[in-house]
């Protein structure tokens, strides 16, 4: 009996002992909306895995991850080691479902903050719910311009958008000019739906500010059976750089047609999409050597923070981390950083902390110049790396401090 009492006492003491820290450190609930089924399920699932890796980095001690905020400690240090708790919901790419689920996360799951939602259309509706209830919403990677700029107080966006990409291209051009390369005029070729038009508009705008004449702007209808007219027009205008905003089939057809019509500008830049499609490189690697593309994510050299994070992601999923999921992961880190600084689960205090976010480049996993939100909630320091097709893969070639390979200029195209 005495022994039994002792056992009970020890168990009670142990229970008390283990309870103390969990009691002191409340968890913070993050509601995350992504398309986990449906057309964009692959992207949603990849991002979910990225968020889980990010939560692991925050919740457990990872001193090996260098300057990354919150990696070193277990949990959120300002909140007694409180853990992040993720609640995932699947909006299937349906904006009205995203709206309902955002409401449910706030009213029933009592989440402290929200994040999502991949498709711009879903981010658009879900953020409106967050605004109504006064819950901070971190838009991970949706790019449509109109998500921010509606006068919302509670919406923040970590990812670069069209105008950021455009500014990055201009900074690259300025850099090239300083190195004595000739960029007198550029041309913009875009497919004419929302995506192509908005990116092309942004590029033309920024080019005007940077005082780089746009020799030709050529909109066309996606999935063309023939792009000779566009290529011949470029051939006539002789721009120094051609920027393509094109989907897969057209991107491949452009590269092939340029070879057929013996047209090779000094440089071609593809704005992601078609140029990033897995079928692009096998189809045109032999005729598009040196073609450039963008990506804000780079695995980096072995031993670097990004390399280690990629290894963690790979151990979980069997794949390398991609640009989309990595941008979501960065937004997640920025959100966690703000929650920690607020030292609270109170939405208003987290919102205030978000407005004061100021992450430096060495605290990021992405090629941004920082994370700092303007009064619309957009990250004004978002940017991207530029990559170049060399042999059979893309190499990071700009900016110089992150580059893993030397820029090839002019592009070699099909000439060996």
């Amino acid at each position: 009996m005495k022994r039994f009492c002792l056992l009970i006492g020890a168990a009670a003491a142990a229970a008390l002992f283990t309870m103390v820290p969990t009691h002191a450190a409340d968890s913070v609930k993050i509601g995350i909306l992504w398309p986990l089924t449906g057309n964009a399920a692959a992207a949603g699932q990849a991002s979910k895995a990225a968020a889980e890796v990010a939560a692991d980095i925050v919740n457990n001690a990872h001193p090996e991850l260098g300057d990354l905020p919150l990696a070193e400690s277990a949990g959120l240090p300002n909140m007694g080691g409180a853990k992040l708790e993720l609640v995932f919901v699947d909006h299937q790419g349906n904006p009205s479902l995203a709206q309902q689920l955002a409401t449910r996360l706030i009213t029933q799951d009592n989440v402290n903050v929200l994040m999502g939602a991949y498709q711009s259309s879903c981010s658009f509706t879900a953020t409106a719910v967050a605004e109504r209830y006064g819950i901070p919403f971190m838009v991970g990677e949706s790019a449509a311009g109109n998500i921010t700029g509606r006068g919302f107080k509670w919406v923040f966006r970590g990812t670069p958008i069209a105008s950021d990409y455009a500014r990055t291209y201009m900074r690259f051009f300025a850099d090239m000019k300083r190195q004595g390369r000739k960029i007198d005029t550029i041309a913009v070729v875009n497919e004419n739906t929302d995506y192509g038009t908005s990116v092309a508009d942004a590029i033309v705008d920024e080019a005007k500010k940077a005082d780089i004449p746009v020799a030709a702007r050529i909109p066309y209808i996606a999935n063309s059976s023939d792009v000779s007219a566009q290529v011949l027009q470029l051939k006539e205008k002789k721009p120094d750089v051609v920027i393509f905003i094109s989907y897969t089939a057209d991107s491949i057809l452009y590269m092939k047609t340029m070879k057929n019509l013996d047209y090779e500008p000094p440089m071609v830049i593809g704005d992601d999409t078609g140029f990033s499609d897995p079928s692009f490189i096998p189809a045109v690697a032999d005729v598009a050597q040196g073609a450039m593309n963008r990506s804000a994510w780079a695995i980096g050299k072995p031993g670097s923070t990004t390399y280690k994070i990629n290894e963690m992601y790979k151990a979980k999923t069997g794949r390398d981390l991609d640009d989309t999921s990595a941008r979501n992961m960065q937004s997640f880190f920025a959100l966690a950083d703000a929650i920690n600084r607020s030292g609270s689960t109170d939405p208003e205090r987290i919102r205030e902390a978000l407005t004061k976010t100021d992450l430096k480049p060495d605290q990021l996993i992405m090629g941004y110049q920082g994370v700092k939100f303007d009064n619309t909630g957009q990250n004004i320091l978002a940017a991207t790396y530029l990559i170049q097709l060399q042999d059979k893969k893309y190499e990071l070639i700009w900016p110089d401090n992150a580059a893993t390979a030397k820029l090839q200029w002019p592009m070699a195209g099909w000439k060996k």
């Binding site: 004419n192 050529i218 909109p219 066309y220 209808i221 999935n223 063309s224 059976s225 023939d226 792009v227 000779s228 007219a229 566009q230 011949l232 027009q233 051939k235 006539e236 897969t248 089939a249 491949i252 057809l253 092939k256 070879k259 057929n260 019509l261 013996d262 499609d277 897995p278 079928s279 096998p282 189809a283 045109v284 032999d286």
Partner: protein
Amino acid sequence: MLLVQVIVGGLLLGAIYALFSSGLTLIWGMMNFINFAHGEFVMLGMYVTLLVVVWLGGGPATFGFAAAFTLFVLGVVVYLSLIRYVLRGPMLAQILSTFGLALLLRYTAFWVFSANFVSLPQTSLSGTINIGGVLMPVPQLVAGLIAIVLTVGLHLMLTRTAVGSQLLAVAEDRSAAMLMGIRPDRMQALAWGLSAGAAGIAGALMAIAYPWSPSVGETFGLTAFVVVALGGFGSVPGALFAGLIIGLIQALSAFWFGPIYKDIVVYALFVALLWLRPQGLMGKA
């Protein structure tokens, strides 16, 4: 010089259209039957080509023949297993049956080959010929020549051979043809085989020039119907002629007005022409 290049490019594109459409016009002419699955036949021809090149390392002669033969067989099978039966049904059933077949083939291809774009590795037909500063991509050039050969061949076969006469006789009057000892089923199966075989050849040649996915039939399908209607229902030389005209107009309008206007110009002219001449350029009224 640039204008010459645009014109040559337009004619070469037109040749591709003509090639794509030749099988379609054949079925239309033979059976008054619209084959909505024609674009999917071409798509299958492209995948047969890819498989032959990648697995067997075959050259253009091999994959051209393989695509034509495979599709010929498919055409006959489709006729015997589907078309023969729906011909007895109402007109709408006939139209919708090939529409259903098109979707079946397209989504089966999505399942088997995935939605990713593929393209053919470099073959001996890749490359460009330079004639006096005018550049002609070899695949398009060969496609153009084959389109002409195919058109002339089909035309001669229909007008100069016994088989052709029998095909036309069935098209003209099925019962009368039967009384003359012609077996309409056999003739129409042959027509479907020839049409699908032509689609196979078109697919083999287009595979050299274009990246494609299972939905490639959509990109060219609409143009093919316009080519056939403009050329005149069932007229094989009409399809060649119409294909060249549409390619040329598209190229010139894209060059002069910009690529987003080219289809507006083409279809405006098309509607205007049908208004004046509903039977098409070479069709019989």
